[in-house]
Amino acid sequence: MACLLEAPLRISVLSEVTATSRHYVDRLFDPDPQKVLQGVIDMKNAVIGNNKQKANLIVLGAVPRLLYLLQQSSSSPELRTECAVVLGSLAMGTENNIKSLVDCHIIPALLQGLLCPDLIFIEACLRCLRTVFISPVTPVQLLYTDPTVIPHLMSLLSRSQRTQEYITQIFSHCCKTPEHQTVLFSHGAIQNIAPLLIYHSYKVRMQALKCFSVLAYENTQVSMTLVNVLVEGELLSQVFVRMMQRDQPIEMQLTAAKCLTYMCRAGAIRTDDSCVVLKVRLSADLFTLIIVGASLSNVAPSSPTQALPCLVRMCSKEHLLEERVEGAETLAYLMEPDVELQRIASTTDHLVAMLADYFKYPSSVSAINDIKRLDHDLKHAHELRQAAFKLYASLGSNDEDIRKKITETENMMDRIVSGLSESSIKVRLAAVRCLHSLSRSVQQLRTSFHDHAVWKPLMKLLQNAPDEVLVMASSTLCNLLLEFSPSKEPILESGVIELLCGLTQSDSPALRVNGIWALMNMAFQADQKVKVEIVRSLGTEQLFRLLSDPDSNVLMKTLGLLRNLLSTRTHIDQIMSSHGKQIMQAVTLILEAEHSIEVKEQTLCILANIADGNAAKELIMTNDDMLQKIKHYMGHSNVKLQLAATFCISNLIWNEEDVQAVVNSDCAHKGSQERQDKLREMGFVDVLHKLTQASDPNLCDRAKTAMQQYLA
């Protein structure tokens, strides 16, 4: 034991207390088992509520000895139980205590102890395990290393109220990954724990409920199973609804709402419960039920709309800060994909205004009056802010009126702007999500976004941020670069092109899409200067690399960029004169390869743009192969492709009469005549003629206009 004293910092502390503490440890080594037992009992009484004593005993090496006594089959049941109790008491101390206990391999020892038939001893072991596992410093994986542990714990569930409470608490803290969910699920967690939801002890009910919330989180399999579980003849979802009643403890209401939210997001419960939809669905479902005895999953729909007001309530000022954070986050998650729920929530209990309170911590009052409260507020301030941002993001993701309501909330834009540069990553991410959600509004882009110069902090954020923030920020930037956005100009001037071109080289497909997307938006109806700058900065090599990107979104946006680059006639000619060859090559490749209709349509549109150029036309006219392809697409079964191809031809045979061509009118006219002749020879007139009979009115019109060029 002397070696333990080498730790220099501890010497001074120990010198005073070692004597008494050592006495307790020494007694554990007494040859008389009765004296050892008394020693353990005395130790138990000495450590209760005394963190210093706990630390001392750990330093003096009590833990290995206690574990030894606990594991020894020669020890009496009383002794083993008392050892487990003392260890549990030590675990109740600081995080350092837990670390020391885990380092002494307390977990396997205790798990081994669960195999003992003595219930009192099992309960003591479970209690200690519970205390160890709920600590954030314990690696939860330790519960799963031995595959026999989980089934054994399941079998212990029915032993007593204590085993139920401790085991469910362990499960709810140790279920952190989909793998954990699967392990617990496959060992019958649902069937074993469901009856506990209506157990008389509140603690057991609550821990069981928590288990279900962690099991169902983003887990379709569990959620789908939960929908059909009956507890004493009652559907589980109905049990959850009952637990959300307002006279239940807040913790229970909140956790039940979480369960329903997770089931709903996993697709196990429908989000709409409007009466009409319900009745129609109901009869259909009952029909299926009769035929295949299928699930009742679609017949219990009202739960999410009952979860929603419950979660909104949780956001109110009267609740604890933790509850408000959880409530807001869960609510944001619940309604994220459903515009109807967003609309309902936006009118419920002044939610939008209520969230503004989340930014008022720590309040000036708390700072003056009460140091403890200030500390508490400070701790939760970040969490509150990020939760509010998340909820605002979710609320405003679809509905224009809600976005307006949000931006009109007191100081909202200022709060987002300062949120973008907060030190906490979580807050920054949530703030940029919120900004992104609001940036989907044309009106907001034109007004509040510009007024508050949100592009500045956004650009700053883009310089250096983790990928997840970057994705959101660049996606927001895409919207800010839309043609009608007044922020577009200042952003351009801040050297954004380099940054975006950089993003297109990212490993993350999402970042590549956003980068190229932003460039595409930027190139839309842009000045020649900007276009040249984009091409220069991106480099043709990168451009063509993106055209063969495995992600079809990237491909689509790159084609979009090309199309936007090749817009007005002079720009077309200029770009085609320098990059014509490669572009034609890329277009050929795409048209020849297996691609979706959308991609091909976009490519044909690029061709049509090229055909609109003066000089560029010749690149197509001289390429018979390409002309054949166009002809092929004019006869394609898809109208969109037909339309795009016809458009291309129409451009080729166009009779130049506009101002641009006046200088060279003879030449131009001559050119168009030549092209018309060549195309006639290739049989395009026949095709066009046929298309004038097409059933699609657009296609028909387009073909007729093209035909008129021949007549002119």
Binding site: Q245, R246, D247, T348, D349, L351
Partner: protein
């Protein structure tokens, strides 16, 4: 409540009656604390309290606009028939927009009496409204504040008034829109206002289920207020409170003569019992006699144990004698029953009594359930073993006391009863049957009696009477000694069924004679104290019984019901206690009564929380 409703609204249509019934049920369920005799609930729009541009139909629930609707000067409102009573705690009504009419300028809200009806709710002082065209809330002002969404045809708008914190929130299609008004004044009426032609709205004051889950909201406040009560800070006075509570329990047990329980409780809590054991037991014995319908014996016992008591309470004596007469008719009083029945043991006409528990003013039926359906158990308060040992000591004491007083009269049952007493603790009333089995003839008779008079207790509307009984069965204690009265047993052919005085001729004669004596007593009292209408009525009622061939099924037959003994029993008990300088009511009941009064007072001073702080919420 039902009568009240019928008085207000025309009836006849069965569907309407059904709706009316449902409304009554729902209102009673939602607002149990409201006393509608004092503060009626709103049930419809008032045909009197409205502007002329408002038309009412469908039992005054539908409101339509019938003015020109040119501008805001054509606005018109209607108030409900009554203001919202504070005792509701939380009040809620809904309005369905049947048609938004031309412009949908509809306002839903609240206003005080006297507010101009040529306006929409919210525009004037003491008027509050939520308007459909802009979704704004108007708080006694012509300019609104942004509040909620707009509403139109098909929407259901709810208005909830929280009388605990004096706020109001609205709901739209079952979704709460959040607080609209705070610091509301009292006595507001539900109000709607319309402004353009074609606007029609229907009110739901409880006629139909609400779209919004108001009961869930109420349950939150109930839990809040109960929590407030449960967590009421008592600080340093914890010990003090405990002593007070223990004394209350103890005094209650003593008051009602739960002797063994009281002693056990006193021992466990180390408290002192004020009254001595003998006194408690004497009271208990007298009470049992009254409850068993043997009033004559009760009077005798009282006179013997408390010689001056009835002398000083001539009214009480008169009431007792009146009751005695009634019991004679009933055939239960010992003066007549021992004339007809050989085995007095079988004459336990009050088999339910061991299960009797005190009835509280609230008359809550479930309170008594335990006692009522287990007539064989001794109230479940005293473990048999304990009470037995106690009964023994008690019996000894009693015996010694009674022996000292035995000289006074030969009629006391002290000696045999004290012996039986100690044995009988764990016995139950069913034992009366084996006892009565000694005579076949009488067995059938006595069983009849038992059957006929057996009743479940707690069903009778409670006066302030509190009847008790101890943990002991009384049939043994009460074994009357035939010797004292049982002279000349003429056992005539007793027919089945209940008969006057048990169907015995001698008994009937005795009864008639007793009636004369009673009449004389009344006259004497009149001479001494002046006319007493209560006495006269009592006497008349009692004598009226003789006018019917079947007194048990006659208009005054109610008197024969054994439960009628309870108030008298309680009065006698109180009188004895007062004579001993003890409180006539147990402090527990006093506290209970006071709490009930307080809650009612809260309703009158418009403190809404009274709705969720009701005394019977805490009586389990």
């Amino acid at each position: 409540m039902a009568e009240l409703a019928a008085g207000i609204l025309p009836s006849g249509d069965p569907a309407f009656n059904y709706q009316e019934h449902e409304l009554n049920e729902r209102l009673k369920h939602l607002y149990p604390a409201v006393n509608e005799e004092e503060t009626p609930l709103p049930r419809s729009w008032s045909p009197k309290d409205k502007y002329s541009y408002i038309g009412l139909s469908q039992n005054n629930l539908r409101v339509h606009y019938k003015g020109h609707g040119k501008n805001h000067k054509d606005a018109a409102s209607v108030r409900a028939t009554h203001p919202i009573p504070a005792a509701c705690g939380i009040y809620y009504f809904e309005v369905k927009i049947v048609s938004k009419g031309r412009d949908g300028y509809m306002g839903i809200g609240l206003s005080a009496q006297g507010v101009n009806m040529n306006r929409l709710p919210g525009w004037d002082k003491h008027s509050y409204g939520y308007h459909g065209d802009d979704g704004h809330s108007f708080c006694s002002s012509g300019t609104g504040q942004p509040y909620g969404p707009t509403f139109t045809t098909g929407d259901v708008i709810g208005c909830c008034v929280n009388l605990i914190n004096n706020t109001c929130f609205y709901t739209k299609n079952g979704i709460s829109l959040g607080v609209a008004f705070t610091d509301l004044p009292p006595n507001l009426y539900p109000t709607v206002g319309l402004q353009t032609p074609g606007e029609i709205v229907d009110a739901n004051f409880g006629q139909q289920p609400f779209v919004f889950d108001i009961e869930d909201y109420m349950s939150e406040w109930r839990a809040k207020i109960h929590g407030m009560i449960a967590r009421f800070p008592i600080g340093e006075r914890l010990g003090e409170w405990q002593v007070v509570l223990q004394n209350m329990v103890s005094s209650y047990l003593v008051h009602h003569g739960y002797c063994a329980t009281a002693t056990a409780f006193a021992r466990a809590t180390e408290t002192l019992i004020q009254e001595d054991q003998t006194s408690i037991k004497n009271r208990q014995r007298i009470q049992k006699l009254v409850l068993a319908g043997r009033v004559g014996e009760a009077i005798e016992a009282t006179q013997q144990l408390y010689p001056t008591l009835l002398e000083h309470n001539p009214n009480l004596l008169f009431m007792l004698k009146c009751r005695q007469f009634v019991e004679m008719v009933n055939g239960t009083d010992s003066e007549v029953c021992c004339l007809s029945v050989r085995s007095p043991k079988s004459q336990d006409s009050y088999p339910g009594s061991p299960g009797l528990t005190p009835r509280h003013a609230a008359g809550n039926a479930h309170l008594h359930a335990a006692g009522a359906d287990s007539p064989t158990c001794s109230n479940g308060v005293t473990p048999p073993a304990k009470s037995k040992s106690h009964g023994f000591t008690g019996g000894v004491k009693y015996a010694s006391v009674s022996s000292s007083s035995a000289s006074a009269s030969s009629s006391t049952s002290s000696s045999p009863s004290s012996v039986n007493y100690s044995e009988s603790n764990s016995s139950d009333s069913t034992k009366s049957q084996p006892h009565s089995a000694n005579s076949t003839q009488e067995t059938s008779d006595s069983e009849m009696d038992v059957e006929a008079e057996h009743y479940t207790n707690g069903v009778v509307e409670g006066s302030s009477a509190r009847i008790m009984n101890g943990t002991y069965k009384h049939e043994e204690i009460l074994q009357p000694d035939d010797n004292s009265i049982g002279n000349g047993v003429t056992n005539d052919s007793c027919s089945n069924g209940r008969q006057l005085c048990g169907g015995n001729q001698a008994a009937t004669e005795r009864m008639i004679q007793f009636g004369r004596e009673l009449q004389m007593l009344n006259e004497q009292l009149c001479r001494e104290y002046g006319k007493n209408t209560t006495h006269k009525k009592m006497l008349q009622d009692a004598f009226s019984l003789l006018a019917y061939s079947d007194p048990w099924n006659c208009p005054v037959g109610q008197q024969l019901d054994p439960t009628q003994r309870e108030s008298l029993c309680s009065a006698l008990n109180s009188a004895i206690l007062v004579s001993q300088n003890l409180p006539k009511q147990p402090p527990l009941m006093l506290a209970l009564g006071q709490a009930t009064e307080c809650v009612q007072l809260m309703a009158r001073v418009r403190s809404g929380s009274c709705s969720f702080a009701r005394v019977d919420n805490f009586l389990h």
